[in-house]
């Protein structure tokens, strides 16, 4: 069994500060982490590896610094890593990003399963997983919450939808995106960290993966950001601080009145 896991390095969201003058994100001093939702994809791959002896390659597109994210995945137990980094990749939207990742996967050629996180916590679109499958013309199943069995030809899995769980049989090779329920990510091990440190990660550019320039970066991105603004979050609501049992009663009544106003009770 051969598994490929595309991941993304994202800013630690709790750290994100906004520049109030320009309305843009202050990137300096913001810690970068592996997209938390990709950890579930990595763990799902590692679980399959434990039960069937799979080989896992993690890939990412990003600046040279994104190699850190790949190293963390290797430290958790992934076998190989590949970094897609080139100036021409900059400014990619989800369409261009999924193209580069798909071309890299095509280059690796020998694989049974591609596992993606549900979405990245910075872009928050959830479009890259399905996008990869569309470029590769592979079957895709999103929101996978449980792997029941992972064979090289058939994957049986549960998919979380609004009102329940679907049990699906998927012919491989295929792409899946997993939700948090699918696994609980392990921490990197010491021996994993040592292996990751020693590992030289190959850096590939467009020609290495036979990518066409017209599909790359800003030029290859159908969507363009035309405006950015910071909406104010305060709603100027009312705050009540009850100081006695009577005031507590009054607060409860106030809430009930609000319920009535909304026609809820």
């Amino acid at each position: 069994m051969k598994i490929i896991i595309p991941i993304k390095q994202v800013p630690e969201t709790g750290d994100v500060k906004m520049d109030s003058a320009t309305g843009t994100m202050k990137r300096d001093g913001v810690r970068s982490i592996v997209n938390p939702l990709d950890l579930y994809a990595i763990e799902t791959g590692l679980k399959i590896k434990e039960s069937t002896g799979a080989h896992i390659t993690v890939i990412t597109m990003g600046p040279p610094k994104a190699a850190e994210a790949l190293k963390e995945a290797v430290a958790m137990g992934c076998d190989d890593a590949m970094l897609l980094s080139d100036k021409s990749f900059a400014g990619s939207d989800t369409c261009a990003t999924s193209y580069v990742l798909a071309m890299a996967i095509k280059k690796i050629a020998d694989y049974n399963l591609v596992i993606c996180g549900e979405r990245a916590t910075d872009g928050d679109t959830g479009q890259v997983g399905p996008g990869i499958s569309a470029w590769l013309n592979l079957p895709v199943c999103t929101y996978i919450s449980k792997i029941i069995s992972a064979g090289e030809k058939i994957l049986t899995a549960e998919r979380l939808v609004e009102d329940g769980y679907e049990t699906l049989e998927i012919k491989g090779p295929c792409v899946i995106t997993v939700v948090k329920e699918a696994a609980s990510p392990r921490l990197p091990t010491l021996s994993g960290k040592i292996r990751a440190k020693k590992l030289t990660i190959p850096i590939l550019g467009p020609s290495d993966i036979n990518a066409h320039p017209e599909h790359l970066g800003l030029a290859g991105s159908p969507t363009k950001v035309v405006k950015i603004e910071t909406p104010k979050i305060t709603r100027n609501g009312e705050l009540i601080i009850p100081k006695s049992p009577e005031e507590m009663e009054a607060a409860a009544d106030k809430i009930i009145k609000y319920f009535h106003k909304l026609d809820i009770i």
Partner: protein, 345 residues
């Protein structure tokens, strides 16, 4: 590019019943259409009950493109994407709006990628650019701290998803009767490498929090699992769903489908009531579009109060039982009155 015309919405049905998201998307499309003479088509996969067809006949849309085939009664990524892609090639819509649902979030990127066109996820605002007529798509970005406006100027169709419940599904009826066009896609488009072998519904309490008008949510302030019953009880009394923060879910007090926020669900209920929730940016990202927010927290400096319409700085273990008792009492007295009224007749 000029041959691309009209607005399509990707409606949804379940067991023959047209889902609320269909009407929400239609309301969006109608508002967007505004002064421009766009025709609106509703695309729906699977069979629809006759009574449901009647309901959707006079809602101001122009066409219903129906794929009336048992094989697409429920969502399967390949047939849905193949058929929609085929329809787009043949009929060339200018705009496609889909729901940010488990199926919409799958089929929209599949089709957008195959069309080599742009797709903007979770748009909170859609409008036309004054001069060019391009679609301006606004969405919260980076955990909801900023709003980005996105445009797809050179490719068609322009595609966007919007979150369920972020728009009212109430529609005015019209004189205009929509024309039903039954689509008969080629046989090969129905082939699927994915087989659905079972469906297991989620239990009531956590079911479909995104569709719920009322949500009562709890966080770490509930202190232990046992106490989470307060939230469940209140949710039940208000006829809503119980939700939770990530901390509460991680502690096993609630199930993951109930998690609200950046790595959980985004909700837009009429009322979001929460207790013992601090209001982290990640949590707020999931509730910003709630119409009304009531928060209970014993720390009067808590972030959640910044976004609450009504905040009570109090101990939830005092306030919630009081609130529950009061609602139960008023229920009982209403029931008693009804009962005695009947007796007098």
């Amino acid at each position: 590019m000029n041959e691309y015309k009209g607005i399509w919405i990707i409606g949804e049905q379940k067991e023959g019943i047209i889902q609320s998201i269909t009407y929400e998307l239609l309301a969006r499309a109608l508002e967007l259409k505004g002064s421009r003479a766009h025709e609106i088509s509703i695309v729906i996969f699977g069979n629809i009950h006759d009574a449901e067809l009647k309901k959707i006949r006079n809602v101001n849309a122009d066409y219903l493109l129906q794929i009336n085939d048992r094989r697409v009664d429920y969502f399967l990524p390949e047939p849905y994407a193949n058929i929609l892609y085929d329809l787009v090639q043949k009929r060339r819509p200018e705009i496609i709006i889909g729901g940010a649902t488990s199926s919409g979030r799958t089929i929209m990127p599949l089709v957008a990628t195959r069309c080599r066109t742009g797709l903007t996820a979770d748009c909170t605002k859609l409008e036309f650019e004054e001069k060019t007529g391009h679609l301006l798509q606004s969405r919260p970005a980076i955990g909801g701290n900023i709003m980005a406006t996105i445009k797809c100027a050179d490719n068609r169709p322009q595609m966007a998803t919007v979150r369920p419940k972020s728009f009212s599904s109430k529609l005015k009826t019209s004189e205009k009767i929509l024309e039903i066009i039954t689509m008969v896609p080629e046989e090969k488009l129905f082939s699927s490498s994915v087989k659905r072998i079972k469906f297991t519904p989620i239990s009531e309490n956590s079911s479909n929090i995104q569709e719920s008008d009322v949500i009562a949510a709890g966080g770490r302030g509930l202190k232990k699992k046992e106490n989470f019953k307060l939230i469940n009880r209140l949710a039940a009394l208000l006829g809503g769903c119980a939700g939770a923060t990530r901390d509460a879910v991680d502690r096993g007090w609630a199930a993951y489908p109930q998690q609200i926020g950046l790595s959980g669900k985004t909700v837009s209920p009429k009322l979001y009531f929460c207790a013992g929730v601090s209001g982290s940016v990640q949590h707020l990202a999931g509730i910003k579009t709630a119409a009304n927010i009531i928060a209970v927290n014993n720390d009067c400096e808590a972030q959640i109060f910044k976004i609450a319409d009504l905040g009570i700085a109090a101990d939830l273990f005092e306030l919630l039982p009081l609130l529950i008792e009061k609602i139960e009492k008023s229920r009982k007295s209403v029931n008693d009155k009804n009962f005695s009224g009947a007796e007098h007749e």
